[in-house]
Amino acid sequence: MKNKEPIILAVVVFFTLVTYYLVEPYAHGVMHKHVESENYAYDDLPAINKTGDAARGKDLVLGAGACTGCHSIEVAGMPAPMDPVTAASSYGVNPPDLSNAGVIFDGKFLANLIKNPAHALMVEHKFDASKGQMHPMTQFYGAGGDLDQEVADMVAYLQSIAVEQESVTPAMAYENACGRCHALKYENWTQIGTKPSFKYKKDELAFDIKVLEYEDSITKYMGKLPPDLSMYIRSRGEHYIKTFVENPQNYLHGTAMPRVGINAESMDKVIEHLEDAGDTKREERASVGANVMMFTIIFAIFALLWKKQVWRDLH
């Protein structure tokens, strides 16, 4: 009798794969728009062709630019003018500390942000100056000299005080780029910072109330509370998050979420941080997986040999 098993196996595998292809890659391709990465080039923004001077930039940032009226720069000894809750109730969201802005965000993006925040952040649909809807970050109109030169100087200064790119940790990238709007519960992160452990319940409640007040302000500012990102690496996946952050309008036209202007290296760190939160055991999975696969293959070989031995007497 002819052995039909290979053809039966081929039929089973064929129909299984066809079904898999249709319900997974194909159906998801139809349901979800595919957005290609723009490689964090921010091509729509004009390049600044001036070479910045950090020393002059320092004078502008701390002086005529008036950045420190709202932003803290802790490495330069400039404290925040307000606590996060008060700042959020004034501006909608707590203005970021600028100590590491120069390394987290793209230089060209920063320059354009300083010149025209609503445009660089892609929130002009929400902040239309002609209708009197001003973005809470005031546009820099220049300190009397060449505007592009001054902006380049300011960016050069921010880059000069920031840590090296290699020293950017996943948590640092997340906190700077995402953390003032998005909590990350599984990493104990709230929009006003890491939640400390408290000895007394009333201190903890006081902290929680601050977080709630901050969240109220940001809800009013954004239209809805930006979601906690703890499980986003599983619910959205790396590709979606990366391309979304690059240009939120690509996915959700009209969304209040600004373009963050992060650079590619720091974005990888953000992803790593989200993996630490929502896919914590990925390395253990890889090593256990390799061992289990090896064990299973050896088991299958022994099972095959046992079958051959038992069946020798049957035919």
């Binding site: 039966i8 249709l22 349901m31 929502g278 055991k281 890889a286 256990v288 696969m293 299958a300 070989i301």
Partner: protein
């Protein structure tokens, strides 16, 4: 009272009290299996192994899972996935096995249909098997509620809504099932109970029935051959192992079962460690939110074909078609009027019917997932009508079949 003697060994001691030698013969060494069967006959063992994987991983998950709407999501995604040693492993095994078990069930079912293994005394095997399919479906659905993600919540909403039975507006029944107006704490608690107690009990009982139903008619074979099991067994026991048409379940067929299981486990663990997303829908990693409907709500892949029979019609007609799809498979032994218990490829029109049904169900499965727009909804409607037409045609085409 029976007469007991001083035992000569532990085995003898047990034998006098439990008749373990006799049990072993009945269950294994003298449980006769035809030789002319292929690897598809090992799917029962593959299912058993998968069920054990589900049971064991489920027990581990049960130690940390919290059936509370406020904590369920975090107990799964934080406690089990991050805090508990190897919690992620048990969860991925449980999630992947819950999906793969349906693939094997479908292979097992279509094997039965192809070889006519529901005919001539094997009706109860088929019926108990279909009851298992239904309880497994309920088990899968109730389990899907437990992580309390977006898809849990909205699938729970959609599926329990079905019980209002369209034009009958049995909203009271829906509320009774949910224990609330919407899926909430009472809903989660009762689906938790169903998932970890009532349905597993029913499954264990039905597995017993399924095995018992196999006892008298014996296993079918791939040639539609009628075997005299007693005579062939005598031949085997007399030493003619090569000439006999049957073999022992253990170790003869079990060695092949284990070979298939070994290959299956390579596939299974590959999915568990490297390709688990298909079984764990990304949408369900967003916590349940009753104020935010997901853009696309779809069931897991193994329910898609019956979902697509519900979807293309108006509410009432869709529900009737859906009900039809749920019960019609159970009736297969009585709808097939043919006297022949042979593989479908030797049964003429039935052979064509078999492949059409298989392809139709794959089309339904695909359309059930895709958004019901444009060509997809037309294809879905045609496939749903074809499904119904195929089953209505079955008694007529099989009645015409000549006795081989």
């Amino acid at each position: 009272m029976a007469h007991f003697e001083k035992a000569t060994s532990v085995k003898d001691w047990l034998n006098q009290r439990l008749a373990i030698e006799k049990v072993e013969k009945v269950m294994a060494s003298e449980y006769w299996i035809p030789k002319n069967i292929n690897f598809l006959w090992a799917m029962g063992m593959v299912l058993m192994i998968t069920f054990i994987l589900l049971l064991v991983s489920g027990i581990f998950l049960l130690m940390y899972y919290q059936p509370n709407v406020a904590t369920a999501f975090d107990s799964v995604n934080y406690t089990i996935m991050r805090e508990v040693g190897f919690g992620w492993l048990w969860r991925h095994i449980h999630g992947v096995a819950a999906s793969v078990v349906f693939l094997i069930i479908y292979i097992h079912m279509f094997t039965g249909i192809y070889y006519g293994s529901y005919k001539k005394g094997r009706e109860m095997i088929w019926i108990s098997g279909m009851l298992l399919f239904i309880t497994f479906s309920a088990e899968a659905f109730s389990g899907y509620m437990l992580p309390w993600g977006q898809m849990s919540y909205w699938a729970g909403m959609v599926i329990t809504n079905i019980f209002s039975l369209g034009g009958l507006h049995l909203d009271g029944l829906v509320e009774w099932i949910r224990g609330d107006y919407v899926p909430a704490q009472a809903f989660l608690n009762r689906f938790f109970m169903l998932h970890v107690l009532l349905l597993p009990l029913a499954i264990l009982g039905l597995i017993g029935l399924h095995f018992a139903a196999l006892r008298i008619p014996h296993v079918n074979n791939q040639d539609g051959e009628e075997i005299d099991f007693d005579a062939e067994a005598q031949k085997y026991l007399a030493g003619d192992k090569k000439g006999s048409k049957v073999m022992r379940f253990a170790n003869d067929f079990m060695s092949k079962d284990m070979m298939v299981v070994g290959i299956y486990l390579i596939f299974f663990f590959y999915l568990v460690f490297y390709h688990y997303n298909f079984a764990m829908d990304p949408v369900n990693f967003d916590p349940a939110d009753g104020l935010k409907t997901p853009a696309h709500i779809y069931p897991e892949w193994y329910f898609l074909w019956s979902y697509e029979i519900l979807r293309p019609f108006s509410v009432n007609i869709g529900l009737i078609a859906f009900g039809f799809a749920q019960v019609i498979f159970v009736l297969l032994p009585f709808l097939d009027r043919s006297p022949n218990t042979v593989p479908a490829n030797r049964r003429g029109a039935f052979g064509i019917w078999f492949w059409l049904l298989l392809v139709d169900m794959i089309v339904l499965t695909a359309m059930g997932k895709l958004p019901p727009e444009g060509a997809f909804s037309t294809i879905g409607l045609v496939a749903a009508l074809a499904f119904i037409a195929l089953w209505i045609a079955l008694p007529f085409i099989t009645a015409k079949e000549k006795k081989l």
